[in-house]
C-alpha cells in the first residue's frame, strides 16, 4: 500500500488493507479494476489507494493530484470565486483542509503569474493572496508552547511558498473587539465561558472566528475569504444543523459562495473528501499541525463520529448527504454579486451567469440572527407586540434564532445582560440593524392594513 503511516493519521489509511478486501464490488468497471494495478487514466503508472471514495485505488499519484486540483479549479472558475482583480484571504488553521486550499490557491496564482509574464499586453492582473491564522488560545485550553509551535509551522509554510509573496496575518481571536477597548481578551473569555452547553460553546466560537476573519479581511482590503471546508466537513454540518433545528438556514452555509458577509466567503474544496485531502498532504509532504482540542460530549462531536461511521460503510455517503442538502433552495446571497467591472473578461462573466443561481429564486428580504448570522425562518422573526421590555439585551435575545437562544444565550435575564455587554460591537450592531430590518418587514406584512395618505383624511 502506498501510505505507511505518517502524515495521514486521520485519513484512515491504516484500514486500507481490510477495506480493499471487504469492499463489495461497486460496478462492473470497478470490479475489473486493474489486475495489474495500473492507473486507469494515464495507463502508465501504478495506481495508489488510500484516498477513499469510490475511485480509491484507480488512479496513480499524479492523476489523483490532477483530479483533485481539477475539482478545486472547477469550483473556483464556475462560481467566479477568484477573478484577476481580486485579493483573496485564505483562512489557514494549520489543518490539512486549509493547507490544501492554500496550496491550490497558490498553484493557481503561480499559473496566473506565469501567464501574466508571458502575455504581451499584460492586461490581466494576477490576483493577490494573503493568509490568516487565528490564534484562539484566549478561549481554548491550548498549552502555550503548542500554540507557539503552530504559529511557527504556519509561518514556515507560508514563507516557503514560492513567489508571489503572500502576506501572513497572525491574529488573536480577541481582535473582534476594537483595539482601543483593551480588555478584549477578558471579554471574549467571559462570553465563551458564559455558555454552558458544550455544543453552544463550540458554535459561539465559530461565530467569533468568522467575525475575526471578516475583520482582518476588511481591514487589509481583501475581497474574498477562502475556507478549506471539504465535503466531509460539510456533510457533518448538514447533519448537525438539522439536529439543532436549523433546517431553514442550512442551505445558506453549504454553497460554494456565501455573500451574506461584508466580505464574501467561498468554499472551493466543497467537492473534495477529507481522505483525499489527507492523501494529498501525505503525497506532497504538506506540513500541517493539529492543536489538541477536545471535541468531547458535544452534538458536533457525536455527529462527526456518526458521519465517519456511515462513510466507512459506504464511501459515497458523505457526498450523498451534501447532494441531498444541495437540493434545498439556497438563498439570494449564495452567489457572487454580479460583476459589472469591465476589467473582468467576458468569458468569466458569461460563465458566472450560467452557473450562478437564478436571481429571482428566493426572497431577498431575509432577516438574520445577529449572533450566528443565519437567515431566520418566518416563525422565528420576533413578534414585537408580545415584548414589553426595552432593555437592549432583551431585544437582542429576541432577535436571535431559536437555536442560539437555546444553546448559547443565558436564559437568566441578568446573565443575559452581562453577556450582551461583553459581546463585540459588531455583533451588537448587527442586532440593531436586524431590528430595523424586522420593522420594515413588519411594515411590509401589514401594508394592506395601513391607510394610504389619501385615505386617512376622512
Amino acid at each position: 500500500m502506498a501510505c505507511n503511516g505518517s502524515g495521514c493519521q486521520s485519513g484512515g489509511c491504516y484500514k486500507d488493507e481490510d477495506a480493499t478486501c471487504k469492499q463489495p464490488p461497486k460496478s462492473e468497471e470497478a470490479d475489473s479494476k486493474n489486475p495489474s494495478n495500473v492507473c486507469i487514466k494515464c495507463k502508465l503508472n501504478d495506481a495508489v489507494s488510500g484516498y477513499g471514495g469510490i475511485d480509491d485505488g484507480r488512479f496513480c499519484a499524479d492523476c489523483f493530484k490532477t483530479n483533485l486540483f481539477g475539482k478545486f479549479r472547477f469550483a473556483v472558475t464556475s462560481n467566479a470565486m477568484i477573478t484577476p482583480t481580486d485579493k483573496v484571504l485564505v483562512a489557514f488553521s494549520g489543518g490539512p483542509s486549509s493547507r490544501v486550499a492554500l496550496q491550490f490557491v497558490h498553484d493557481m496564482q503561480e499559473r496566473a503569474q506565469r501567464n501574466f509574464d508571458a502575455s504581451r499586453d499584460r492586461s490581466l492582473p494576477v490576483f493577490g493572496v494573503g493568509v490568516v491564522f487565528i490564534d484562539e488560545s484566549a478561549v481554548l485550553p491550548i498549552p502555550s508552547n503548542e500554540m507557539e509551535e503552530a504559529v511557527e509551522v504556519v509561518s514556515e509554510v507560508v514563507s516557503s511558498l514560492a513567489p508571489p509573496r503572500k502576506e501572513l496575518h497572525i491574529v488573536p481571536i480577541e481582535t473582534v473587539y476594537s483595539s482601543d477597548s483593551g480588555d478584549g481578551k477578558e471579554r471574549i473569555t467571559k462570553v465563551v465561558n458564559t455558555v454552558i452547553d458544550p455544543t453552544g460553546r463550540e458554535d459561539v466560537l465559530l461565530c467569533l472566528r468568522m467575525l475575526a476573519l471578516q475583520k482582518v479581511a476588511s481591514e487589509f482590503g481583501y475581497n474574498r475569504i477562502i475556507l478549506g471546508s471539504c465535503i466531509s466537513r460539510i456533510a457533518c454540518h448538514v447533519i448537525s444543523a438539522t439536529v439543532k433545528g436549523q433546517g431553514y438556514s442550512l442551505p445558506a452555509d453549504i454553497q460554494y459562495v456565501d455573500a451574506r458577509w461584508e466580505v464574501p466567503v467561498v468554499l472551493p474544496l466543497r467537492d473534495c473528501f477529507a481522505q483525499e485531502i489527507n492523501m494529498l498532504c501525505h503525497l506532497d509532504g504538506l506540513k500541517t499541525v493539529k492543536l489538541s482540542t477536545d471535541l468531547c460530549s458535544s452534538i458536533n462531536g457525536l455527529v462527526s463520529s456518526f458521519v465517519a461511521l456511515l462513510q466507512e460503510e459506504n464511501p459515497s455517503r458523505e457526498s450523498t448527504i451534501v447532494r441531498t442538502a444541495g437540493k434545498l433552495t439556497p438563498f439570494q446571497f449564495n452567489r457572487i454579486p454580479e460583476i459589472i467591472d469591465g476589467n473582468v473578461p467576458l468569458a468569466t462573466r458569461r460563465r458566472q451567469k450560467r452557473y450562478n443561481l437564478k436571481s429571482n429564486e428566493s426572497v431577498s428580504s431575509e432577516s438574520f440572527c445577529p449572533l450566528c448570522n443565519s437567515p431566520l425562518d418566518k416563525s422565528e422573526i420576533t413578534d414585537w407586540s408580545n415584548i414589553d421590555s426595552h432593555r437592549s439585551s432583551d431585544i437582542f435575545y429576541n432577535t436571535c434564532c431559536s437555536s442560539c437562544r437555546f444553546q448559547i444565550l443565558p436564559s437568566d435575564s441578568m446573565a443575559m445582560e452581562q453577556f450582551y455587554m461583553d459581546l463585540p460591537q459588531s455583533v451588537v450592531g448587527r442586532a440593531k440593524q436586524a431590528n430595523n430590518g424586522n420593522l420594515s418587514l413588519l411594515r411590509e406584512q401589514i401594508q394592506d392594513y395601513l391607510l394610504s395618505d389619501g385615505e386617512d383624511e376622512t
Binding site: 469492499q23 463489495p24 464490488p25 461497486k26 460496478s27 469510490i54 452547553d197 455544543t199 448538514v238 447533519i239 444543523a241 438539522t242 439536529v243 439543532k244 433545528g245 436549523q246 433546517g247 431553514y248 442550512l250 442551505p251 460530549s297 458535544s298 452534538i299 457525536l302 456518526f306 461511521l309 456511515l310 460503510e313 459506504n314 459515497s316 455517503r317 450523498t320 448527504i321 447532494r323 441531498t324 442538502a325 437540493k327 434545498l328 433552495t329 428566493s362 425562518d377 416563525s379 437555536s403 437555546f406
Partner: protein, 353 residues
Amino acid sequence: MEGEGGERKRGARLCCVCKKSRASVKRPKTLEQICRECFYDAFESEIHQVILENQLFSPGERVAIGASGGKDSTVLAYVLSKLNRLHNYGLHLFLLSVDEGITGYRDDSLETVHRNQIQYGLPLKVVSYKDLYGWTMDEIVRVIGLKNNCTFCGVFRRQALDRGASLLKVDKVVTGHNADDIAETVLLNLLRGDVARLSRCTSITTGEDGPIPRCKPFKYTYEKEIVMYAYFKKLDYFSTECIYSPNAYRGFAREFIKDLERIRPRAILDIIKSGENFRISTSTKMPEQGTCERCGYISSQKWCKACVLLDGLNRGLPKLGIGRSRGSVASDNGNESKVEKSIQGKQCTTLDF
C-alpha cells in the same frame, strides 16, 4: 407508594406541577420532573392539542387505528379512545391489524390486539396476507429466503392496511409513529438523498390525495413517554422482534437518535422542526399517481409494487420487482441496498405503514 422509606432517602423530589406528589418521570420535552398523575394529564392533553391544532378529525368520522400490538399502537388506541370519550370527538374508532402470517411472532402479537379489542371496547378487523395475496410471510420466506423478505412485507403491509381500511369504510387511518420515528425518517431521507420523501415525511397527515388519508397523532410525542405511559398504566403490549429480521430493529440512525437524546433531548423535536422548515422547491414532487391496472390500487406505474412482487412469486421468479426503482436515489451501485440495511431503522415495524 414506597411509603416513608422511599421518600426519605431520595429527599422527596416533588412534582413541579402539583407540588404534592413524588416526581416519577423526567420529561424529555421540558426536562420537568413530574408525578404520575400530572404526567398522564400532560401526555394526554398534549396529544389532544396536536389533534385540535392540526384538525386531524371531524365529528362523525370513522377512524381505524393501525394496531400491531406493539407499544405505540397500543398506547394510541388507549389514549385515542379516552380522548374521544373525554372531549366528545364523536369518532367511531376501530382497530385494524394486518396478519402477515408469521408463526411465533404475529400470531402472538395479534393475541395482544385481540385482548385490546376487549379492554378498550373497540371493534377489530384483521386482514391477512393469506386472504389478500394468497401467501403468508412464512410461505414467502420459504421461497425467497431471508433476503429481501422485508421488501415484500413492507409493500404488502402498506397495501393491506389500505384494503382493511376500505373494508371498514373508514375515513382515516391513524398510526402510532412517534417523534423518534419521524426524526429518524428525516435523517434517513437526508442520508439516502431522497428529497421528495424528505419534503413529505414530517407531514402529520399524508395520502390526502390517495384513497384513505393517514395521520400521526404522536408526531410530537417522545418514545420514552409512550413507554413510560404504557408501563405506569400497565397497558398490555407486545414487544418481540420479528423472527425474520431479528437484527433489523434499529440501525445506526436510531442509535444516533438515542445518543442525541441522551445529551440533548430536545434534539428529537429540533430534527422534526428542521424537517418541517427545509426549503424544498415545490418542483420536487412525487411521481404522479394513477391506478394499478391489475388491482386498482394507487400506483405510479402500470402495475402497483405489490402486484409486481406477487406476479414474481406466482411465476416462481421472486426476484422480480426487487431493487430500487423509485427516483432520486443516491448511488445505484450494488452495495447500496446492503448498506441501506445498516443505516435503516425499523424496516419491519410500523414505519412503512
